[in-house]
Amino acid sequence: MAEFFQQLVNGITWGSVYALIALGYTMVYGILKLINFAHGDVYMLGAFFAYYSARWLGVAEHPTPLHALGVLLLAMAGCAVVGIVIERAAYKPVRRSSRLAALITAIGVSLLLENAGILIFGPDPKFFPQIIPSTNIALGGGVTISNQQVIILVVSVVLMIGLRFIVLKTRVGKAMQAVSHNHTAAALMGISVDRIITFTFMIGSMLAAAAGVLVALQNPKIEPLMGIMPGLKAFVAAVLGGIGNIPGAVIGGLIMGIAEVMVVGYLSPTYRDAIAFVLLIVILLVRPAGILGRNVAEKV
C-alpha cells in the first residue's frame, strides 16, 4: 500500500506540472478558439531563461530561497515578453483569417522556437543548477516527498488560485470572460479586445515558464526539444478536462500525471507516452466536450 501512495504522490506532483501548462492552452483556446502549439516551447524557454538567470545571479554557488524566487520571477517575466511578441507578431496578423491558418501559424511558431533554441542554446542537454538543495520529508508509512516536490505543489496551487482570482474578481478578468463569450459584443461594451488577448497570452506564457522552472528544478536536464512531449500531453490534459475550462485543465493535468505514473509503475514504461493518447481517444468517444466542458451546439 505504501508503494501505491508513493506512486500517487509522484503522480500528483507530475500532474501539477501538466496542469500549469494545460492552463495556458485552455485560456488561449477559451478566448481565441486557437490551439497554441507553441505553448510547449514557451515552457522550454522558461527553463532556459531560469538556467541563464541562475547563472547570471550566481545562485548555483549560494542557493537561497530568495534567489530561487528571483530566478522563477525572471523566467516568468522573460516568457511574458515572449508570449506578447508571439501574439503580436504571429497570431494577430492572421486573426481574421480562417482558424486553420492560425493553427498552421502556431505549428510554425513552435518549429521556429525549437530550432532557434537549438541554434542559440545548442543541441546538448544542459544541467540546471541546484537552486534549492533537495531534502526528503517522510510522510509516514514509508512514503516520502522531497522538498522540491512540495515546492512544485505549493507554487502550482498558488499560481492556480492567483489565476482564478484574476479571472473571477478583477476587471481585466471579467473582460477576459466577456471576450471569450463574444469578441464583437465585448468590443461594443468598450473592452479593448486586442489588449485582452495580449494579456491572456502573457498570463499563459508566465504559467508555462513557471512549469518549466519547476520541472528543471526537479529533473535538471534541459534541452531545446524538451517542450514537445509535455506540450502535447498538457494539450491532451486540457482537452480531457474540457478545453476552455480553467478548473478542467487542472483536473485534466492531475489525471494525466497520475495515469502516467501508474502505467509506468504497474504496467510497462513503454506505454508512458501512449497512455496520454489512449486517454484522449477515450474522452473523445465518451465525452467529447471533456470532463467539465459543456456541449455547445454550433449554429451552421
Binding site: W14, D124, S134, T144, S146, N219, K221, E223, E260, G265
Partner: protein, 402 residues
C-alpha cells in the same frame, strides 16, 4: 520572352561559379583520409567529444613523430557528428565513404549507433574500428568490423562477480533502457551471471533514453527491497536516476557499466552517486607508465583528465596508424590503394582487404587502456576495472580479469 533573355547572364554566372568551385574543391593531392563519426552533440555528447579528443591527440603525436605522414601520404581525419542518433550514424558513415573517400572508419561509442553504421562499412569493404562499443553483435556484422574494448558478456560477469563476491549481495534489481541495444544486452548478461553466482534478480524495470522522470520505476523497485540496483544506462539518465532514487529514500548502491563513463555523470548526479560502482576500461589511478604519459599529454592539450572513452579512441587511432604503417613497409604498391586518389578502384579494394587482415592480426599492442590482442571475433580481451564513486570522485576499487 523578355524574362528568358534576362535569365541568360544569371545562368552563365551560376555555371561559371560551379565550374570554379569544382576546380578548387577537387583536391589533386593524394592523402590518407580516415573517417570518424560520433555524437558530438545530443544526449550523450561527451562520448563523441572524448572520442574526438583521443583521436586528435593520436594525430598530433603522428605529426610530431613523422610529420603527420604514413608511407609518404599525409593523414587527414574527417569528423562527422551523428547527434547521438542511429539513423544519422548510418548517414554519416555513408557520406564518409562515398564523398570523403575514406579508407578506414573510427567510431562509435554507443552500440546502437555502431550497429546502424557497421553494415555500411562492411558492404563497402572499409575497415571500421569501434573504440568502445561493447555489445557483442557489433563485430558480428562482418569481418571488417573491429573493436578495442571488451564485450558485454564479460562486463556483465564482472559486475555480477563484484556484487556477489566483493559486496556480498544476494538481491539485486535491474533498471534498463529498453531503446538501447547496449543497455538491454548488458542487463541480460548481468542477470545471467548473477543468478549463476547464486544471486537473485528481484525486479526488472525499464525506461527510455530521454525520459526525465524515473520515480514511478524507482518506487516499484523500492517495494522489492533490493540490496543494490543495476542500471546499465548512459550517464545522463544515470545521474537523474541516482538523484531521484535518493529523493525516494533509496539508499542502496547503484551499479553500472562503462556507459557511466563521463565527467558529466558527477555533474548531474552529484552527491547522490556516492557509494555507487561501475565497471570501466581504465582508471586514471593506474600507475602504468604508458597510461601516465598519455594522461600527461592529454592534460597538457585539453586541461582535463581523459575518460576511458578518450583513451580507447586514442588506442583505436594508434592501432589503425600502426596497421597502415605495416602495410606501407610490407608492400608500398598495395599501400598506394589506400590513398584518396585510388578511391573506388580495384587497387583500393585490394589495399583495404590487406589492411583488414593486418588489423585482425593485432597482437599484444601496448595500449593505454591495456594490452590489446584481437581474438578470432575481432574483439579485444582485456581486464575490466571497477570504479567506486567516493565523495564526488571516481576512485579505483579493483581489477577483474577475463
Amino acid at each position: 520572352m523578355t524574362s528568358r533573355i534576362r535569365l541568360r547572364p544569371a545562368l552563365g554566372g551560376v555555371l561559371a561559379i560551379t565550374l570554379l568551385a569544382l576546380g578548387c574543391g577537387g583536391s589533386t593531392q593524394d592523402e590518407l583520409v580516415i573517417g570518424e563519426y560520433g555524437s558530438l552533440s545530443g544526449n550523450d555528447a561527451t562520448f563523441g567529444q572524448s572520442t574526438k579528443n583521443g583521436v586528435e591527440l593520436a594525430l598530433d603525436e603522428l605529426k610530431a613523430a613523422k610529420d603527420g605522414k604514413i608511407g609518404g601520404l599525409r593523414v587527414r581525419i574527417v569528423v562527422e557528428d551523428d547527434q547521438g542518433r542511429p539513423e544519422e550514424a548510418a548517414t554519416a558513415v555513408q557520406k564518409l565513404i562515398n564523398q570523403d573517400r575514406v579508407c578506414a572508419v573510427l567510431g562509435e561509442v554507443a552500440s546502437s549507433r555502431s550497429l546502424a553504421a557497421a553494415p555500411i562499412s562492411q558492404a563497402a569493404g572499409v575497415p571500421m574500428i569501434s573504440p568502445s562499443s561493447t555489445n557483442p553483435r557489433v563485430t558480428q556484422v562482418g569481418d571488417y568490423i573491429f573493436r578495442m574494448c571488451f564485450i558485454d558478456p564479460f562486463q556483465g560477469t564482472v559486475m555480477a562477480k563484484f556484487a556477489a563476491q566483493n559486496l556480498g549481495l544476494k538481491r539485486v534489481a535491474i533498471l534498463k533502457d529498453v531503446r538501447n541495444d547496449y543497455s538491454v544486452g548488458l542487463a541480460q548478461f548481468y542477470a545471467d551471471a548473477f543468478v549463476k553466482l547464486g544471486g537473485q534478480i528481484v525486479g526488472e524495470q525499464a525506461y527510455s533514453a530521454g525520459d526525465q522522470d524515473f520515480r514511478a520505476q524507482l518506487t516499484n523497485v523500492k517495494g522489492k527491497n533490493p540490496q543494490a540496483i543495476f542500471v546499465p544506462g548512459y550517464y545522463t539518465e544515470v545521474g537523474l536516476i541516482a538523484r531521484q532514487a535518493r529523493e525516494l529514500g533509496i539508499t542502496v548502491p547503484l551499479l553500472g557499466g562503462d556507459g557511466w563513463e563521463s565527467d558529466q555523470l558527477l555533474e548531474i548526479g552529484g552527491p547522490a552517486l556516492n557509494g555507487c560502482y561501475y565497471s570501466n576500461h581504465f582508471s586514471v589511478d593506474n600507475p602504468d607508465p604508458r597510461l601516465q604519459s598519455f594522461l600527461k599529454a592529454y592534460r597538457a592539450k585539453y586541461g582535463a583528465d581523459p575518460d576511458a572513452i578518450g583513451g580507447l579512441a586514442y588506442d583505436a587511432a594508434n592501432v589503425l596508424f600502426l596497421s597502415m604503417d605495416k602495410l606501407a613497409t610490407e608492400n608500398a604498391e598495395t599501400f598506394k590503394g589506400l590513398g584518396s586518389a585510388a578511391a573506388g578502384s580495384d587497387a583500393r579494394r585490394a589495399a583495404t582487404t590487406r589492411l583488414r587482415e593486418i588489423i585482425a592480426s593485432t597482437r599484444d599492442y601496448p595500449g593505454v587502456t591495456g594490452t590489446i590482442t584481437l581474438d578470432a571475433n575481432r574483439n579485444a580481451r582485456k581486464p575490466a576495472v571497477v570504479i567506486e564513486i567516493k565523495d564526488g570522485k571516481k576512485v579505483y576499487n579493483t581489477t577483474i580479469n577475463p
